[in-house]
Amino acid sequence: MTTTSRWRALTHHHLFWPVAVLIALLLVNVPFTPDFFSINMTDGHLYGSLVSIVLFGSPLILVAVGMTLVIATGGIDLSVGAVVAITGALTCSYISDQADQNTLSAVFLAMGIGLVAAVVCGLWNGFLVARMGIQPIIATLIIMVAGRGVAQLVTDGQIITVNSEPYKLIGGGYWLTLPFSVFVVAAVVAVTVALTRRTALGLLVESVGGNAEASRLVGIRSTRIKIMVYMFCALCAGIAGLMISSNTSAADGNNAGLWIELDAILAVVIGGTSLLGGRFSIGGTVVGALVIQTLTTTIYTIGVPTQTNLVFKAAVVIVVCLLQSPKFRAKVFGAKGLKGPRRDAAPVEPAPAPDAAPKMEVSR
């Protein structure tokens, strides 16, 4: 195997472009913030830009991981932002009603109430999509709009603040020198990967998303799988909701998780999962979410004026998406490839599995 073939195998890996973009974005920060990569230990806690990116990106990663599975079944879930708000509202209002907000059992119960509500939202979405056959974008629009109303109903239209040390830990606390949310995210990602790849769930989800009718005829209970996936997505959004409200010690029915669904969808797409459904990549989604969070951080550190930062974000996203398109890469970088014999053509479909690439190097 030659160096070029190794390089090809690397560039054709499905995580190559997302990771490349992430690294590039991180490097952009260095001229503006020379100590961007430095991490300091203060009071037994690690601080630094990288730590903040992971800390502030945690809710997005959670939501995006759930979204990945929904998108893999060929659906989409617009309601995650509202679910974030509902969970935060229910949990905070329960905690704020307690005489002693620091009681562990009460905090656990409050979180349980919030998460159950989230899962119920997911059940409703799944029911509408899988049982009633409503288009996912419409079905989840219902909770996207109505859910904010529910959250406000719970909080009486107010911003509920809590003062609970144990609750503060989830989104704002530290454990073993790292933000506690990092552990939550790691646990959820690990559970998701295990759930999809250690069992056959991932295969069945990809099958349903790849060809729904063929999946029905092969005996896959796609209704059940879809409902499960929507519930899981809502659960992830619920945990994100706990994190966000814990970080600010407040539940804001109006603004908590606002537009997070769009960032999450974007993260999934940057991570290489097709919106058409089928194959998905949890690892890609995590990188995608980190790209978006890094982008947000970068906008602040390089001092893009606030009024133009959405335009800046859009421009970067367009570049990322173009870089990921094999067609675009063939057009732009194709001329260079012509020099190498018979190596210029980009595959018609997205990058092949990494282990398939070396087999092409037959006679060279």
Partner: protein, 512 residues
């Protein structure tokens, strides 16, 4: 004898897909005024070669020379503008528009930005007339049968590139399986048009699975096997047996074997029993029994209810009335799961839309049915899975023999084998095969038919649907005849049953 200059010359064509080398150094040439057949089994590289030629795929190596000049097509449009037109198996036209509009779509004659409708109709009528066709160009395309639509597609493509609509701009016309859904008279009309175009100097590349048609209309043929060139021959120099041997790369003895095979006569007890099973708009209520180890063939015209009957037996559609017992137990048939649990497997005639998940790998597609039956919580252990998949890839000779290859990349015959493997792995009691040999080459066809025979010998019941009566007759113990969505007769196969006898039954609608 000095050979004329070829209009198209492809040299050393290479096309690779991840893990697959679809074409390795294929040479191909096409002379003006000839009908040239491109022959080969499924997966031999015919479609890939055509797609490289017409700009659908980019080239990984080799050169294309058109009219003596080097050419490279980045898109079908570029190829079209250079004078290479293609008509595919499925008609890609707009049925709601008129014939004239379809012929001129995308290159309507305009003046000052406005379409000159009158001129368009006039020129379309002239073109149709000149090609000896009797078609009213003002009528909507949908008012014509599929065969005529196909002819319109050809008229459209030979008209492309013509500057004033009068001449033919096309130098090369590619016809990819244009005859697969036409009846005999329609095929003759198509051939007449092809011959006329040939006589006007158009080079025609013709792909068909029907060998008789090749010998009827073609002048020269190029044979591919496994992505390499096997030979180029004048049709009159190579007989059918020789051609088939070239295509499959082995002698015909193995094909003969099947013809001499004796159907197993000692059938087991009743396995499947349907009573009054029917569905409004699908098929009238029918009674049916299938014994263990029996091959029940269904014969009937397209749309006579063959597929509908099969789908009811699988629970793919829900019956309005009647009941099904399998192995003595009643099965509700409210969903495919019920039938699968009772040991029924169903290979749909629509491999792509109802069978495979193109994005998934060969391995994933093969284990899908078994995994679905086990549920998501009990994955098949990796070692057992790999062993099963390897065994079936080998047994059915799936190519490429790479479990990681994406199914969407495989040829039709190999996709069919993947589908078969998926169900065989579940060890069904009744295997329903709906048109398993459609659109696949003679080698794979024979393999699949041999497989059916051996499965039946091992005690598996098979419901076999095929448009070719010979195929049904060869394999079946019993033949169910359908007509107008009704099961009209059940014939026990024997020496007195012939294709003409079956045809008579279909025609008369009753058992004689």
């Amino acid at each position: 004898m000095a050979e004329p200059q070829p209009v198209l010359e492809m040299t050393g064509i290479v096309k690779e897909f991840p893990g697959v080398r679809a074409l390795s150094g294929v040479d191909f040439r096409l002379f003006p005024g000839e009908i040239h057949a491109l022959m080969g089994e499924n997966g031999a590289g015919k479609s890939t070669l055509i797609k490289v030629l017409t700009g659908v795929y980019s080239l990984d190596g080799g050169t294309i020379t058109l009219d003596g000049e080097s050419a490279r097509f980045g898109s079908p449009l570029q190829a079209q503008q250079a004078g290479i037109s293609t008509v595919y198996q499925e008609v890609n036209l707009c049925p709601n528009l008129s014939v004239a509009e379809n012929i001129f779509i995308g290159r309507e004659p305009t003046r000052a930005g406005r379409i000159q409708w009158k001129r368009m109709r006039k020129e379309a009528a002239e073109l149709v007339d000149r090609l000896g066709l009797d078609i009213d160009v003002a009528a909507p395309l949908s008012s014509y049968p599929l065969a005529v639509q196909q002819l319109v597609a050809i008229v459209r493509s030979v008209g492309t590139g013509a500057r004033d609509g009068a001449g033919l701009g096309t130098k090369v016309l590619v016809l990819d399986e244009p005859t697969s859904s036409l009846d005999r008279d329609e095929v003759l009309e198509l051939f007449r048009l092809m011959r006329q175009l040939r006589d006007e100097g158009v080079a025609i590349l013709f792909v068909s699975h029907f060998l008789d048609q090749i010998y009827e209309v073609c002048d020269r043929m190029t044979v591919l096997r496994n992505g390499t060139l096997v030979g180029e021959h004048l049709v009159r120099d190579l007989d059918q047996v020789g051609l088939i041997e070239l295509m499959i790369g082995k002698a015909l003895d193995q094909l003969e074997e099947l013809h001499e095979h004796q159907l197993r006569s000692d059938l087991g007890e009743t396995l499947v029993k349907a009573e009054g099973l029917g569905r409004t708009g699908g098929i009238a209520p029918f009674d049916l029994e299938i014994n263990k180890g029996e091959v029940l063939g269904l014969a009937g015209l397209l749309g006579s209810g063959r597929t509908e009957l099969a789908r009811l037996l699988f629970g793919a559609d829900q019956p309005d009335n009647g009941r099904v017992t399998i192995g003595g137990k009643q099965v509700s048939m409210s969903a495919p799961n019920d039938a699968i649990a009772a040991g029924v497997a169903f290979c749909s005639e629509n491999r792509k839309s109802e069978g495979l998940v193109p994005d998934l790998t060969v391995r994933e597609n093969i284990i899908l049915a078994l995994q679905a039956a086990r549920g998501w919580t009990r994955p098949i252990p990796a070692s057992q899975r790999d062993e099963l998949v390897a065994r079936y890839i080998k047994a059915l000779d799936i190519r490429p023999a790479d479990p990681e290859a994406r199914v969407g990349r495989l040829s039709g015959g190999n996709q069919q084998k993947v589908l078969l493997a998926r169900w065989l792995i579940t060890q069904p009691k009744l295997l329903i095969l709906d048109e398993p040999t459609r659109g696949i080459d003679i080698g794979a066809k024979t393999e699949i038919q041999k497989l059916v025979v051996s499965l039946s010998e091992d005690g598996m019941s098979v419901l076999y649907i095929a448009a070719e009566l010979e195929e049904v007759l060869r394999l079946s113990h019993t033949i169910g005849v359908l007509r107008d969505r009704r099961l009209v007769a059940r014939l026990t196969n024997g020496p007195e049953i012939t294709t003409s006898k079956i045809l008579e039954t279909i025609a008369s609608g009753e058992h004689q």
